[in-house]
Structure formats: structure tokens, C-alpha cells
Amino acid sequence: MDAPELERIPTEAGCELRLRGAWCIDQLPRVDALLVDLEVPHDKEVRVDAAGLTRLDSAGVMILVNRLRAQGVVWSNVRLEHFNSAQMALIHLVADRLDARPRPPRRRYRWRAFARQSGHALGTRLSGQAAFLGRIAEALWDLARRPRLLRHRELVTQLQAVGLAALPIIMLMTFLIGVVFAYLLGVQVQKVGANIFVVDGIGLAVARELSPMLTAILIAGRSGAAFTAQIGAMKVTEEIDAISTMGLSPIQVLVLPRLLAIVLVLPLLTFVGDVMGILGGAVVAASQLDVTYHTFFQRLQAELPVATVLFGLYKAPVFAAAIAFIACRNGFAVTRDARSVGAYTTATVVQSLVAVILINAAFAVLNPDIPR
């Protein structure tokens, strides 16, 4: 492509600019350099001659018009010569649209405004959370009075998605945790020759802490994220508005089946996790610590009180409710742009993990006694 060139010829009346080559977007920096230092008398006649011009596009016209104007030249007084009709049309269009270009205001960062906005955002967020909690409570009350409102099909679908589909991963993870925990504990108790005490340790740890926590964390990552993404996508495609305009409650249709499903399923999964974790421990005990399966389960029966197992299972529905609440609330908060669904799904996973760990800590602090 021919490089753009410019020749300035003084005439009696003023000056003439001869354009040559391609004045187009690929050559824009060069075009700009040609014009930026050019001295053009703004009170005399300016002629622009296009006899040698090979290509011209709107970017080239823009530079020509803007730079001449910056020198104080009145564009309507510029005489254009040897432009063809298409180029003239282009020049007129661009020059016409370009006049009086105000600079966009620079954005300033103001700490005070920032603080006020953040405070305001936090306030609306908290009141939004409270309102959402209220709507769920209201829907639950309606459901309790009229059980026919329950959406069986959706509930069963969710039970399958949250519970059955998660079963393999939960079994595998808790089994592995049981194996690792028994192995590490075994190394310690072997030193004092107290191999049999590995049973007490595994039973307590798995049933009270490991299985409930691990299951809740897996479900928060798996189903919590799914809830937010599903509800968020429905929000984007206006499906939630459609549900409302049909006279149905989106909470009743979307949130309650998910909430009930996860609250029902999490204790069951936790129990499966208990069994698998202890099984993992038993395998290690039998193969590494000379504790036979028979001895292991006899000792377990004697040393692991039902109250400990139940304590672990009691925590599960509370975790579940927190996960469902956070996930659904974030799903409804999604706005109609592409990044929003991803951002809120991330928020769900982070918030629900934090919530699970805080709730677990609260349980531990409030019930410090380990039943014997």
C-alpha cells in the first residue's frame, strides 16, 4: 500500500495541500504525523487537492478535518479539489458529524463517595437478604397450610440431582479421608503400641467432624453453584418474570424444591459419608495396624456412642439450609449481563463455604462435651 504523503505549497491567496497515497486507517499514525506539525494560515484560503490520492476512508477524513480545525481553520472555507463524488460524500458526512466534539469528562476517584456508596450497597444487600429470608418463610408457611402447593416433580428432580448424582463422589471422598486419617493416626498410636485406639479416633473424627464438613463442602460446591447458575440463567432469559406473571410464586416454584431437597438429602449423604469414612479407616487398620475387621467393629460398637453420630447428622440440615439460602439468593440477584452469572456463582461457592465453616465452629463452641 502506498504511504500517505502531503505537500504544502504556498499560493498568493493562502496555501495548497496536495494529498497523495492512501489516507486510511492502516496508515493513521503517519497521516497524523503529516498533519500535526503543519502550519496552515487560518485567516487565508486553504485548498486541498486530491489528485494523487489513491485511497481515503473515514478515519483519514477525520484526521484531516480535526487537525485543520485544531489550527483554527474554518472547515467550510476549505476548498476541496479533485475529490471524486464518493470521496466528497464521505468528507461531507464525516465533517458534518464531527463538529463540536466535547471531551468526555475524566472520572475522578473520590473516597467519600466511594465509602458512601459501599455503605449504601452493604445496607441494600443486608435488607435484601432479610427480605428474601422473609419470602422463603412466607412460602414455607403457605406450604405448611396447603401441602398441595408442593411441586413433587421438581422436588424429585432436585432430590436426584443433589442426592443420587452426588453419591459416588461423596462415597469416594469420605472413604479416602478415612484412609488418610487412619493412616496418620495409626503412625502415632503404633509408637505407643496402642493400635486399638485408632478405632476410637476414627469413629469420633469421622462421625462428628469429617463426614458432615466434607459432605457439606462438596454439596456447596456442586449443588450450590448449580442452583445459582440455574436460577441466574432463568433470570437472564426472563423466565422468572414469566413465572410471576402466570400468578405463581418463583419462591414456591424454584426455591422451595431446592431448599427441601438439599435439607432432606444432606443428612442422608452425611450418614453415607460416616459409613464410608469408617470403612476406609477399617481397611487401613486391618492391613497396616493388625486390627482385624471383627475387632475393629466390636470396638467401634462399644466406643462410638449414637449421640456422637447424631450430633454430626444434626449439623447437616443447618449447613444445607445455609447453602440453599445463599445459592438461591445469589441466583435471584443475577442481572442481565454475561459476567453476572459467573460472578454470582463464584460468590455462592465462597459464601457458602464460609458459612459452613462458621456454623460448624458455632456448633463446636456450643457443644464442647464429647459424649462417652
Binding site: L28, A59, A86, A89, H92, D337, A338
Partner: protein, 250 residues
């Protein structure tokens, strides 16, 4: 100057086990604004996607600027892609960026212009499509339908394309905005010397701003010519398509 900028040769497309296009052929010479019409489901959008290199036709060829689009290696294909602009039906503006940032993307990716020149160009394109400068710093979600289309048009035009593809440019606009948008398109096509292929349902667009119309029916081109000629044709679907409007115009 009269070579065909876009040429489709016997394009055949199979979709969901059925032939959607059974040999579609047409050519668009430089500087012409061509409308593409057809009933819903006749594959206008699919044909458009085949012309811009998003979907490979099962048989047949598409030539853009004299190059066989589907036999080009990816690097060459992307070079060809820089020579045309596309206006998608919903605008397809990136929702997390402001209008000005949206318009600046092709410049950032394909040129190494200094930021000052880039901003100047972006501002010019935004004014060229008739948007107020206040709109430049808004997100697409804060714009009306007509403004979104204009912003998308500014983005399609920013690399100075020679060819423009438009998928239903006036859908979802009120008649007044649609007419304004048609007018803007025509002015821009004439002044910037653009060639355009417009898939549309809008009869006003057809009568108002198109040089030629191609009718897609039953997987084939059943009519191709200036709008009054095509509207006066014998084909049954075309007659009922234009019927209401012809009556209205007397």
C-alpha cells in the same frame, strides 16, 4: 470496479437431517445494498453465518473478495474477516464493557494505534452513527434498543470495512426508530461506499433502502432483482408477502 464482493455458489446445507439450502447461488457486486428475505426458518441467518465464516456449508462455495472462504487457512480467514463488519440481531455488544470500549475492541486487537488516535476514532464512529457522546460511557444495558443497534453498528464500522452483513437490523425497533436506522444505514452505505447484505423481514427496509432483493424459498433463490420487479412477480409466497404492502401503497 464491478467484480462481485460476495458470491455464493450452489450452497447446500443440511440441518437436523433435512436439506435447508438446496443449492443457493447469488452474487453481490461492489457498492450494492442487497436485501435477503424469506419465511422464518428458510435459513436466512444460517446463510449469513455461512457467508461470514461461522458455519461451513455442506456443499458449495462462498467467495468473499474473490477468495474461497472455506478453503482459506485460519490466518488468512481472519485477515478476510477484518475486511467486513457484522451487525448481529441483538447487537451482540459485550455487556461488561461500555459503548466506547466495545467500539474500541477491534482497534485494540488489530491495530497498534496510540490511545489518543484510538479515542478520537471511537468518538468519530460514535457520532457517525448518530449517538450522543454521553452514550459512550454507558453500559449496553443502559441503552434503548435503537441505541444498542447504533452502538453495534459503530463497532461493525470501526475497522473501515468494505462489506457489511446485517441480520435483521430493524427488528425490535418501533417504526420511527426503524425508519431512522434505515436512513442512517443508507447514508452510511452511500457515503462510505459500503456493500451490504441485509437479512430482513421489514418491508419498509426493502422499499426504502435496498437496491436489490434476493428471495429464499424452499431452500433455493426463487427471485432476485430490484424490489418493484420482485414484488410484481408471479411466485405465490412472494405475492402474499408483498400483498399487504402493495395494497397499502395503492
Amino acid at each position: 470496479m464491478n467484480e462481485a464482493v460476495l458470491r455464493a455458489d450452489c450452497v447446500r446445507t443440511r440441518l437436523g437431517g433435512e436439506w435447508l439450502h438446496r443449492g443457493v447461488s447469488f452474487a453481490v457486486p461492489r457498492g450494492q445494498v442487497v436485501g435477503l428475505i424469506g419465511a422464518s426458518g428458510t435459513g436466512k441467518s444460517v446463510l449469513l453465518r455461512e457467508c461470514i465464516g461461522l458455519l461451513r456449508p455442506d456443499e458449495g462455495r462462498v467467495h468473499l473478495f474473490g477468495e474461497d472462504l472455506w478453503s482459506l487457512p485460519l490466518r488468512r480467514l481472519n485477515q478476510v474477516r477484518r475486511r467486513f463488519g457484522v451487525l448481529f440481531q441483538e447487537g451482540a455488544l459485550f455487556s461488561s464493557l461500555s459503548v466506547a470500549e466495545n467500539v474500541a475492541i477491534p482497534l485494540r486487537e488489530h491495530t497498534d494505534l496510540p490511545a489518543r488516535l484510538r479515542d478520537e476514532l471511537v468518538a468519530m464512529k460514535i457520532r457517525l452513527v448518530g449517538l450522543p457522546m454521553e452514550a459512550a460511557h454507558k453500559r449496553p444495558s443502559a441503552l434503548s434498543g435503537g441505541m444498542k443497534k447504533r452502538a453495534a453498528l459503530a463497532r461493525a464500522l470501526v475497522m473501515e470495512p468494505e462489506l457489511l452483513f446485517l441480520d435483521e437490523p430493524t427488528s425490535g425497533l418501533d417504526p420511527i426508530s426503524a425508519r431512522e436506522f434505515d436512513h442512517l444505514l443508507r447514508v452510511l452505505c452511500d457515503s462510505l461506499g459500503l456493500t451490504a447484505l441485509i437479512a430482513t423481514h421489514d418491508l419498509d427496509t426493502l422499499w426504502g433502502m435496498v437496491d436489490r432483493v434476493i428471495v429464499l424459498y424452499g431452500g433455493q433463490v426463487v427471485a432476485d432483482g430490484p424490489v418493484p420487479e420482485v414484488a410484481a412477480g408471479e411466485h405465490e409466497w412472494i405475492r402474499s408477502y408483498f400483498a399487504a404492502h402493495v395494497k397499502e401503497r395503492g
